[in-house]
Amino acid sequence: MAASGGRLPPIALTTNCPSCGVGLVPETLRDQCYVCDCGHHFRMHGDAWIALLADAGSWHERWADIRPHDLLEWKVPKAYQETIDQARAEGLNEAVRVGTATLAGHPIWLAVFDFRFVGGSLSIVAGERLTRSLEQAAAARTPYVLLAASGGARMQEGILALMQMAKINAAVGRLHQAATPYFSILTDPTYGGVPASLALLADVNIAEPGAAIGFTGPRVIRQSTYADLPSGFQSAEFQLRCGQVDMVVARTELRARLAHLIELYLRPLRGRR
């Protein structure tokens, strides 16, 4: 199986790999799913994730027209409306996009976070898209694939951003009750309200190598507790040792692994009444 569903779009890159320091050749990196030869996984945005996971031409985005609103009339240091308008002017459509696709021929629901839209922050629009898609996946027993990348809840939507965690998790509960396979891929970084709502509640939690995953970020922990944090704290490998994720999978292997898991979890039961 191909490592990606189609050719990945270009992404903005530094000139050298932050891990090994080698100079980067964008086209080469693009062909290897933006993974350096040293194993460093570059952050990918929503379009790239869709291209990686969805079979070519299979992506059908849903509810792209739901838009954020400045409910709190947030003004300083920057008006929320301005933040939204700028992001949308750059062609971004909120922190979460959802849709149907196939992965190696299997119909799936796919939800991708985009860290470029206000730090992938959980918002009303994100929550609404996630909840609608979770509900539809549960109704049809279609496997649900989540690609998580988030800095937390969106401050500018206040308490209603927090409430998305409850709204989403209620729908995750129904997904489980409907025995619908749920796979969550946690990428760098995934913090705050996203791992504390749906991102760690999957049947199989998959982390990208080296991804930072946690509830509270290391800076805040150091400020609050004056603690020295061990190296590798909150890394994907740390979360594997701490029993929070099932596996750490290289991006180049991810599509094949997901296809295999979908086959295992969807296989019709035999002989059981």
Partner: protein, 293 residues
């Protein structure tokens, strides 16, 4: 206007009342509601979390399971209760006892009062994010009435983990926020000294949350604040909690759980929002506005 914070207080004055060191804490309410309260301990995994009080008692001739995020009255108690900042074990204790309440059919009262879940290395190592996520999901499967009240600080996911309920109330001078004013200031300004401005923008007072339809009712406090008269504050909270629980008791289980689902499913639709809040949302057609579907 009854049920709303005095308009004469600034947002920051409300924050200070919500955090007042003499403010009644969870046990001050629980012990008055159920003088025979018995505390139960432990997550049955590895710890007991003193930041969360949990147990049973008799309230209005019923056996009720009480939860309360509990601050300390003096330094030693504050340290031992970790300033009511829960570790993962607290949420696991809560879900253990919520399932026990479900088994026996006991209603649940949860009192929320925390700056947030504990931001420490041990909490991360023992899965604080997932513990909160499991609690939030778990509450939707607890087939008994659940009434929650924010009695002081409702801080972020750490508060929400104990506030997924059929009715959520707030004491007049309490706050409930996506992040503490300090944390929000640090995120937005990278300067937590801007906490007063952040608090004002975040809309975190009981009046704000009632207007947004996020809480069902605001419980008025004694003149000057609950810290001036614990007895009166407890009487007021008890009466409102009971009024809500009484309405929930006869609802059949399936309907109760469906209502709880819908309460949070449409909480951002502003359907229950106050008139002075709603108009901010401009209708743009069914798909364009999450409020209309």
């Amino acid at each position: 206007m009854p049920g709303r914070p005095r308009d004469t207080l600034s947002v920051w004055q409300v924050v200070e009342l919500a955090r007042h060191p003499d403010r009644p804490y969870a046990l001050d309410y629980i012990r008055r509601m159920a003088p025979d309260f018995v505390e139960l301990h432990g997550d049955r995994v590895s710890h007991d979390d003193p930041a969360l009080v949990a147990g049973l008692g008799t309230w209005r001739d019923m056996t009720v399971v009480f939860f309360g995020q509990q601050k300390g009255r003096n330094l030693a108690e504050r340290v031992s209760r970790n300033w009511a900042m829960m570790h993962p074990e607290g949420y696991r204790k809560a879900m253990r006892l919520a399932r026990q309440a479900a088994k026996f059919g006991f209603p649940i009262v949860s009192l929320v009062d925390t700056p947030g879940a504990f931001p420490g290395a041990g909490a991360e190592e023992r899965g604080i994010a997932l513990a909160i996520g499991q609690a939030i999901m778990g509450w939707f499967e607890i087939p008994v009435p659940v009434v929650a009240a924010v009695i002081g600080e409702g801080g972020s996911g750490g508060a929400l983990g104990m506030a997924v309920a059929d009715r959520v109330l707030m004491l007049e001078n309490s706050i409930y926020s996506v992040a503490s004013p300090e944390a929000a200031a640090s995120i937005v300004w990278r300067d937590n000294a801007r906490k007063v401005e952040a608090a004002a923008q975040l809309q975190i007072t009981s009046r704000d949350l009632l207007a947004m339809g996020v809480v069902e009712e605001v419980v008025p406090e004694p003149e000057g604040g609950a810290h001036l008269d614990h007895e009166a504050a407890a009487r007021a909270l008890e009466a409102v909690l009971w009024r809500h629980l009484e309405q929930l008791l006869p609802i059949p289980t399936a309907e109760l759980l469906q209502h709880r689902y819908e309460r949070f499913r449409y909480i951002d639709s502003l359907l229950q929002a106050a008139p002075d809040f709603g108009p901010k949302v401009e209708p743009r057609g069914a798909a364009g506005n999450p409020a209309e579907r």
